[in-house]
């Protein structure tokens, strides 16, 4: 038997093992196609007024950096350590206990140890130790820096930052498990800011943000096209329900301004959610005189500035409030979005707020005061609708969703970023008969990210997205197998854009929907026809074309 090859020699010419890890600092960076997003278009970087706009390619050795790039990083880091106390604390207090190590979906999906949150943070912390701590400075001089986890800023370190800070969706799952509450997402945000100082952004972020500046939304869609699209939905809704809804645009003096991510207006299946909002608003207008307006200028709720820098985030957030001021509304109702809400809840107040020119939000229909929107003046539509249902204000035919077996994906930002956990579930359970939760350690505060947030929802990084989304998909697959779940509901436009691809790869039997598509399927409009199809044009259970019944 002794002449048999050992397993690891089995393919002597083809090495099927990664190099031994002699310590993470010694594992060289290997930038792999499919795992990163393209470098940003210099034009977009210029539009944003960010420095060092130039064409560059992550796969090439020379990243065309400014000569004094190390100094720029050092000073940038210094400035942020002084400015953000939390960042300084996060740099100092990690005890490397490892509680966060296996909590990141990117680590679980890729098996790459540098995707352990503790190591991701360590990429930056090692430079901090080297440059800013007394022990680091002394030991580094003596050549022992490595032993305390300190290392100087080199080109390889910079490349590693770029590669791994754009393999983090800033989802904060790791922070839930850290005994000190260290939020690696905040470290990623700073890491990306530092990279931006050298013009090292990715195009999927820079160009949408530049579009937001110019035309008000990520896709650069102009106001008339925005309106055309909504008017097309009016026709579609009429075809399905027999009722012609009549959305208001840019109406001065309306009670409420409605803002949703542009993905709902322009990309399937978000479009059905958008039709859902329109149907709900029409119902409320007919029954209760609800006065809401869309804006063709603040036509984007999503805030990709959040993935760029604190300044950019602030500038994009301000647009919504300026429009609310211009129109003179009482408060803002916000659609199903992820990072829009994280920005509103976590940053808005100290950034552009408090929005004192608006009123404290009160539902004109139920009289409910939305206490947690007291300061931001912006109410989440899931909360708004849950309140309507709770007060019996909606007429619902729940059977119209009987062909769906629904589960709910907690989008990281509304769930972990603002604690919106029960409202969407309450709504779903009231508009659908079949609802099944995914396993407890994959939902609510512990929800697994879609794997494509924080600007990583491009096409070229599909391997990264599929690997990062694996833990989420794995839980969906479980409820699909166990309960026959065929619909994954969510309250985030990025989710609606990226989960269909994730499902297509991992659980092709499951489709994706927004919350208000489900609401509108069940909602009975005054004067409507007998509906034969749902909003997607699929036959409803019990109708002639429905062969399953």
């Amino acid at each position: 038997m002794s002449d048999l090859p050992k397993s690891d020699e089995y393919f002597s010419q083809i090495d099927h093992k990664p190099p031994k890890l002699t310590g993470w600092m010694d594992t060289p960076i290997n930038i792999r196609k499919g795992m990163y997003c393209y470098a940003s278009n210099p034009k977009s970087v210029e539009t944003l007024g960010l420095p060092y706009a130039r064409p560059w390619n992550p796969l090439e050795d020379d990243w065309q950096l400014p000569e004094n790039w190390q100094q720029i990083i050092h000073e940038g880091l210094k400035e942020r350590l002084e400015r953000f106390r939390s960042f300084k604390i996060f740099m100092d207090i990690c005890v490397r206990c490892g509680a966060c190590a296996d909590k990141c979906h990117f680590f679980l999906g890729t098996g790459d140890p540098k995707n352990m949150p503790v190591l991701r943070a360590e990429l930056l912390r090692s430079v901090y130790r080297n440059d800013f701590t007394a022990a680091g400075k002394i030991l580094a001089k003596a050549g022992f820096g490595k032993q305390i986890g300190a290392r100087p800023m080199t080109l390889d370190v910079l490349k590693e930052w770029w590669y791994y800070f754009f393999q983090c969706t800033e989802c904060r799952r790791c922070s839930v498990f850290c005994p000190y509450g260290i939020d690696t997402a905040e470290i990623t945000i700073i890491g990306r800011e530092l990279l931006n100082l050298l013009g090292l952004n990715i195009d999927w972020i820079a160009t949408p943000v530049a579009n937001c500046y110019r035309t008000g939304n990520h896709l650069g869609i102009q106001p008339h096209a925005f309106k055309d699209m909504l008017e097309f939905f009016v026709d579609d809704i009429e075809e399905i329900t027999g009722v012609r809804v009549d959305p208001q645009f840019n109406k001065k003096g309306a009670d409420i301004l409605f803002i949703t991510p542009s993905g709902d207006v322009f990309a399937d299946p978000g479009t059905y959610t958008c039709m859902g909002y329109m149907i709900l608003f029409h119902f409320l207008k007919e029954k209760y005189g609800f006065d809401v307006t869309w804006s063709t200028y603040a036509s984007e709720g999503g805030n990709f500035g959040f993935f760029t820098s604190h300044e950019t985030m602030k500038r994009l957030n301000a647009k919504m409030y300026l429009e609310a001021k211009r129109l003179g509304v009482k408060w803002i109702l916000g659609g199903e979005c992820g990072h829009m809400w994280r920005v509103i809840n976590q940053y808005m107040d100290t950034m552009n707020g408090p929005a004192d020119f608006l009123e404290e939000p009160v539902s004109p229909i139920t009289g409910t005061k939305f206490e947690n929107a007291k300061s931001t003046k912006m109410v989440h539509i899931a909360e708004f609708t849950a309140d309507l249902i709770k007060h019996g204000k909606l007429d619902l035919d729940v059977r119209r969703n009987d062909h769906l077996k629904v589960t709910f994906h907690d989008s990281c930002n509304p769930a972990r970023g603002m604690g919106l956990l029960d409202e969407p579930r309450y709504v779903i359970k009231n508009v659908c008969n079949h609802f099944y939760e995914m396993p407890a350690n994959t939902i609510r505060e512990q929800t697994f990210c879609c794997g494509s947030g924080a600007g990583l929802n491009a096409g070229e990084d599909m391997e990264l997205r599929m690997a990062g989304g694996l833990p989420r998909a794995n839980a969906v697959k479980h409820v699909h197998k166990k309960h026959g779940v065929n619909m994954l509901a969510c309250v985030c436009a990025i989710d609606r854009a990226v989960l269909p691809a994730l499902m297509e790869y991992w659980v092709p039997e499951v489709d994706v929907t927004g919350l208000h598509e489900l609401v509108a399927n069940a909602l009975i409009l005054p004067g409507e026809n007998d509906r034969e199809t749902d909003l997607r044009g699929e036959p409803l259970p019990g109708t002639e074309d429905d062969t399953n019944e």
Binding site: F11, P18, N30, F232, P439, E463, A501
Partner: protein, 174 residues
């Protein structure tokens, strides 16, 4: 006859074989990751590790009792689907299938020869090869799916919505 005997022999040792086979898979990852794959037993906290535990166990039965495509796919597909998005070359991605041969010979070869089951073992090994071919097909399918998703994602959903609305017009500036 000897086929049956080998099947009986291996069935009794299933958990040892599968566990050693699993170790081979874990060894194809970085040590820290491999450790984790072995340790964490919750299927939702460790989707890769637990998918492999399940999958390898099912594939073991296939190899021992005879392979048919339909029976093997539910176990093989999830594993190849995972490997196809991780940092492996195509050969690295499916090499774990063939490592079962080594696991069997290294750990049980002596006993198998002692019981004169070596011919049956050769036959069984050809089933492992069949599994390897299946894995190769699946790997290609997964890669094609990835490329299709790359080509069609965002743009497609956006164009679809626009086309429905009859709003597709080329913008000369882009």
């Amino acid at each position: 006859m000897s086929q049956k005997n080998l099947a009986l022999f291996l069935e009794k040792r299933k958990s040892a074989v599968v566990s050693k086979w699993f170790d081979e898979v874990a060894a194809s990852y970085a040590p820290d990751a491999g450790q984790f794959l072995k340790k964490q037993q919750d299927p939702f906290s460790n989707p890769v590790g637990m998918s492999f535990r399940d999958g390898l166990s099912g594939l073991f039965d296939q190899v021992v009792h005879g392979i048919d495509r339909e029976g093997a796919l539910p176990f093989l597909d999830p594993l190849i689907r995972i490997r196809a998005v991780q940092a492996f070359t195509p050969s690295q991605a499916i090499a774990f299938i063939f490592s079962l041969k080594t696991v069997l010979r290294r750990n049980f070869g002596k006993e198998i020869y002692a019981q004169q089951l070596q011919e049956a073992l050769v036959e069984l090994e050809s089933r492992i090869d069949t599994l390897g071919f299946l894995a190769f097909d699946l790997f290609m399918e997964c890669r094609e799916k990835i490329y299709q998703l790359k080509a069609n994602t965002e743009r497609n959903t956006i164009y679809r919505a626009f086309a429905r609305a009859g709003l597709i017009k080329e913008d000369p500036e882009n």
